[in-house]
Amino acid sequence: MPYNPTLVAPMREEMTRMGARQLTTVSEVDAALGDQKGSMLVFVNSVCGCAAGNARPAMRLALQHGVQPQQIVTVFAGQDLDAVSRARQYFSDYQPSSPSIALLRDGEVVHFVHRHQIEGQSPQAIAADLTAAFDRHFAATV
């Protein structure tokens, strides 16, 4: 059963304030991820305080970096169930976890941050991993 929308609203807003586009339906996911070109970050948001509480601040830090993905989208696990399920089909080599972060380039996953790589890490450490991946995979596409 999805979480109470009132509960998750601030967590959604935290992402949209960073410039992330919310994908809440299967058709929105397909429009964004189907035949995807260029660089994209997909943030699978979560209410989990153990990990998402650091993941969102990490995203905010990472998105201040000089090299960034051209598109930033987000789906909300435990809330937009169909949209999340469809998004995960686009990175199906990777087991589902939330929060998690997928970096795609021309439809291919080039870097994936699992929940277990977020848990217990500081926002700065998570952001450092992300920005290193931005530099490695996206520098030429910005």
Binding site: C48, G49, C50, A51, D93, Y94, Q95, P96, S97, S100, F112, H114, R115, H116, Q117, E119, G120, Q121
Partner: protein, 94 residues
């Protein structure tokens, strides 16, 4: 907590992905929930079995790190008597 936690402090692992070594051939990787007199409660648990042919445990753990954990159990209770050690996955991989 009094009287219910075999290893005080492990509750701080709640929500953390851990590697639980048993006294037998099995190693479990999954999200730690809690520990009580019955054992360790975990979620979304992958299993490595020393007795089964295939990848080494190290390879199994590194695959978990790269591709995530393929859960064989949504919820699992590992009996207290079977638990040998519990460590964070990220620490094991260091």
């Amino acid at each position: 907590m009094a009287g219910h936690v075999f290893h005080p402090g492990h509750q701080e692992l709640h929500g953390i992905t851990v590697v639980l070594e048993t006294r037998g051939p099995r190693t479990y990787v999954g999200r730690f929930d809690s520990q009580d007199e019955r054992g360790v409660h975990m979620h979304d648990v992958g299993v490595y079995d020393d007795a089964a042919a295939g990848a080494s445990k190290d390879e199994f753990l590194r695959r978990c790190d790269k591709f995530g954990i393929r859960p064989e159990h949504r919820d699992l209770l590992v009996p207290a008597a079977d638990v040998s050690s519990i460590h964070r996955l990220v620490d094991v991989l260091r």
